[in-house]
C-alpha cells in the first residue's frame, strides 16, 4: 500500500521553530511530526510514502534516509515547483502512486495529529465500496472550517460547505483520505482544491463516504494548537500505552520524558509535558503544559508553563517562561528573566524580561 503526505510549504505559522527545520521535522511529543504519520502508515502495512513538498526536499530526504532502513519503508519526494493547492500534488505524484495492485492509497495532511485509525478506515472503505473515504471530526466551532454534510447512518457525503456562517453541521474534514486510484483520473495537473473541486464531484456521484474519526484530532500548525495537541496526544497515550509515560512523586498528569533526559531533585513536572532527548532539568524546576526539545537545559528553580522551548536552548535560574512563549533553536534566557509570551527567533540571548507578548527578532 502507498500513501501521500501533503507537506506543503514554509510552515510560517509555526515559526520561529520552522526557521530551523522544515515543519514536518519539528518535534512533537519527542519525535518529528512526520514520523507520527509514517509510523502509523507503516503499522498498517504501507510500504511506500510519497512526500508532496515544495520547500527544502533535500533536508527532508536526508533526515528520513535513516528511517527508511529502520522502518523498512520507502520514502520519496514529489516536489512542486509551483503551489498546486490541495489536489494538484496528487496529480504530480500520479506515477509514484499508481501501480498494478489497484489498491487504494492514503492521503494525509502533515499538520494533523490524531490516533490515525487507519485500519478501521480501510475496513470502512471496503465496506461502503465507494471511490473515496474521508475522515471527519467533530469541532466546537465549525464556522472556521469546511463542514461536511453527510448521511449519518451510511456516512455518504452529500456536500461540503466552506466556512458556514450559520450552523449546518459540526463535522469537518480531518485531512485524512483513502482514495481509489481512479480518483487520480479526476485531478488535473494544475493548482486545484481537493475539497472544492474534486470531492464535491465524487460526492455528487454518491461515491464519497465519511467516517467519524474516533479519538482526538488537532491541526498543530500553530503554537497554541501545538500545545493543545500535545495534551490530547498524551491523553491518548495514557489510554493506549500508559507505560510510555513517566511516573514518580515529582510527576503530575501525563508526562513524556526521553530516557536520555536528566531530571534533578525537587522538581514538579506536568501535566502535559514532553522532555526530549539529552535535556537536563536541574533541581527545583517546575514544568507544565510545555514541550522541551532535544538538548535543552533548564537551570535550577526555573518555572515554565504553556510554552515551547526549542532545540538546544537554555532557561536560566529562577527564570519564568510562560503564556505561549516560543523559544526558537539555541535561545538563551538569562537568570531571573520573565518571559510572558515572548516569541524568540533562533540564536538569541534574552537579557531583559518580556512582560507582554512580543516577537524578539
Amino acid at each position: 500500500m502507498k500513501a501521500l503526505i501533503l507537506v506543503g510549504g514554509f510552515g510560517t505559522r509555526l515559526r520561529p521553530l520552522t526557521l530551523s527545520v522544515p515543519k514536518p521535522l519539528v518535534d512533537f511529543a519527542n519525535k518529528p511530526m512526520i514520523l507520527h504519520q509514517i509510523e502509523a502508515l507503516k503499522a498498517i502495512g504501507v510500504n511506500e510514502v510519497v512526500l508532496a513538498i515544495n520547500y527544502q526536499p533535500e533536508i527532508m530526504l536526508n533526515f528520513l534516509k535513516g528511517f527508511e532502513a529502520k522502518l523498512g519503508i520507502k520514502i520519496t519526494c514529489s516536489q512542486e515547483t509551483e503551489p498546486l493547492g490541495t489536489a494538484g500534488p496528487l496529480a504530480l505524484a500520479r506515477d509514484k502512486l499508481l501501480d498494478d495492485s489497484g489498491e487504494p492509497f492514503f492521503v494525509l495532511n502533515s499538520d494533523v495529529i490524531s490516533e490515525y485509525p487507519l485500519k478501521e478506515m480501510i475496513q470502512f472503505h471496503k465496506a461502503h465500496g465507494g471511490e473515496a473515504s474521508i475522515m471527519v471530526t467533530k469541532v466546537d466551532e465549525p464556522s472556521k472550517y469546511g463542514v461536511v454534510i453527510m448521511e449519518e447512518s451510511t456516512g455518504q457525503v452529500e456536500k461540503f460547505v466552506e466556512k458556514p456562517k450559520i450552523f449546518v453541521g459540526n463535522k469537518i474534514n480531518a485531512g485524512i483520505y483513502l482514495l481509489n486510484p481512479s480518483v487520480l483520473d479526476r485531478i488535473q495537473l494544475r493548482p486545484t482544491s481537493i475539497e472544492k473541486e474534486v470531492f464535491p464531484k465524487i460526492a455528487a456521484e454518491k461515491q464519497l463516504f465519511a467516517m467519524v474519526l474516533p479519538g482526538f484530532w488537532m491541526d498543530i500548525g500553530q503554537p497554541r494548537d501545538y500545545i493543545t495537541g500535545l495534551r490530547l496526544y498524551l491523553d491518548s497515550i495514557r489510554k493506549k500505552s500508559s507505560e510510555k509515560l513517566a511516573t514518580g512523586p515529582h510527576i503530575v498528569g501525563n508526562v513524556l520524558v526521553d530516557e536520555t533526559a536528566k531530571i534533578g531533585e525537587g522538581c514538579l513536572i506536568g501535566p502535559d509535558v514532553a522532555i526530549g532527548p539529552g535535556c537536563v532539568v536541574e533541581s527545583g524546576v517546575r514544568l507544565s503544559r510545555c514541550t522541551v526539545m532535544r538538548g535543552v537545559r533548564i537551570k535550577k528553580h526555573a518555572c515554565i508553563s504553556s510554552s515551547i522551548i526549542g532545540w538546544h536552548s537554555t532557561v536560566g535560574q529562577w527564570a519564568r517562561v510562560e503564556n505561549m512563549t516560543i523559544l526558537g533553536e539555541d535561545v538563551h534566557v538569562g537568570d531571573e528573566i520573565y518571559s510572558n509570551g515572548g516569541v524568540v527567533l533562533p540564536h538569541k540571548e534574552i537579557k531583559s524580561s518580556i512582560l507582554k507578548p512580543e516577537i524578539v527578532m
Partner: protein, 419 residues
Amino acid sequence: MENSGEMEKVVAVIMVGGPTKGTRFRPLSFNTPKPLFPLAGQPMVHHPISACKRIPNLAQIFLIGFYDEKEFALYVSSISNELRVPVRYLKEDKPHGSAGGLYHFRNLIMEDGPSHIFLLNCDVCCNFPLPDMLEAHKRYGGMGTMLVVKVSAESANQFGTLVSDPVTNELLHYTEKPETFVSDLINCGVYIFTPDIFSAIEDVSNDREDRVTANLRRLSSIDISTSTRTNIPTDFVRLDQDILSPLSGKKQLYTYETMDYWEQIKTPGISLKCSGLYLAQFRLTSPHLLASGDGTRSATVVGDVFVHPSAKVHPTAKIGPNVSISANVRVGPGVRLISCIILDDVELEDNAIVINSIVGWKSSLGRWSRVQADGDYNSKLGITILGESVVVEQEVVVVNSIVLPNKILNVSVQDEIIL
C-alpha cells in the same frame, strides 16, 4: 570659656507626623505608622535617631507627632535603652505644623537648657551629617542652619527651593514648591536652631492672632468663613512658608550643603530605594548588621542584605542585592530575592521569586510564584507592593501591581491595583 563647649547640651526633635499624613504610603501605612516602617531592617525613624547619637552632648531626643502614644511606646522604650539617651514621644492633640509642633512643646524641649536644637523630618533619607552641621552652624553664627542638597532642575519644583550665598552660605531666598524654576538647591528637612527659634515662631503666631482679631472686628457683620485668613489657627505655624521664607536674607538662616544621597520617602516605591541606600551605608558604618553566606551552610548572599535574626532562610535560597528580611520570615528552599523588603511573618515557599517588590506582613507566596516589578521607584506601579496578609498562590505571577491587604491571588496579574 574653654569648658563651655562641653557644657553645652543639644537636643534633637524628630517630626513623625500622624495617621492622616502619609496617605501616599498606602497600602503599607494602613496598620503601621509610616515612621515605623522598616528600611534596611530598622524602623524609618531609627535612622535619624541613630544619627542623633553621633551628636556630642546629646541630652534628649523627642519625637513629635499626632499618632497615638501606644503606637510608639514599645519602640521608644527599646531605643532609649539601646542608645542610652532618653527618647520621648510627644503627642500633639492636633497638627500644629512643624514649627508650631516644636513651639507647642517648647517647655519640655528646653527643660535641659540646650544651646542647640536639631529638628529633623522623619520621612527623609540621608546620612544626616549632624555633627558637621553643628560645627558649620557655630561658624555661621545665625539662628538656624538647614541641610540643603542639589537636585535636577526638573525635579526641584517639587520641594522647598532656595538660593544661598555662595560665599557666606546665608539663605537668601526660600520658596516652597515654585511653579517656575528658582534654583536647583532644595531644603532637606534637617535643621539646627538656637533657642531663639521659639521667639521667631512666637512672633508669627502673635502676628497671626493680631490679624485674626482685626479681621473679626472688620468682618463682624459678614460670615467669618469667607475669610481665608481665619482658616489657619493661630498656633499652626509652618516652618517653610512662615519662618524660612520671611527670615531669608536677614542674616539669621544659613545653609549646609550635603554632597551625599538624599531622598524624601514619599511612597512605598521610594522606601525600597531608601532601604538600599541605608543598607549601603551599613556596609560602611555597621557591616556587622549585614548578612553573608555562600550557599554551603547558609543562603547565598549577594550585595547588601539584612536578615533579622529570627528569620529562617534555607541554604539553597539566593538573596540580594538590596534585600531586607524582617522578623519571623520563612524563606523556603530555592527562593530568589532581589531588591525587596520582606516584612514580618511572611512565608516564602519553595522556588518563589521576588524582584523589586515589598511583601507585606503575614503574606505568603506559593511554590514557584513570582512577584516582581520594573524597579522604577518613581512610577506609580514601578515597585510591586503586597499589603498585609496577601496570599499569592502557587505559580501565580504578579507584575507591576499594588495589592491591598487580605487578598488571595489565584490568577496572574500585571499593571493593576487590586482593591
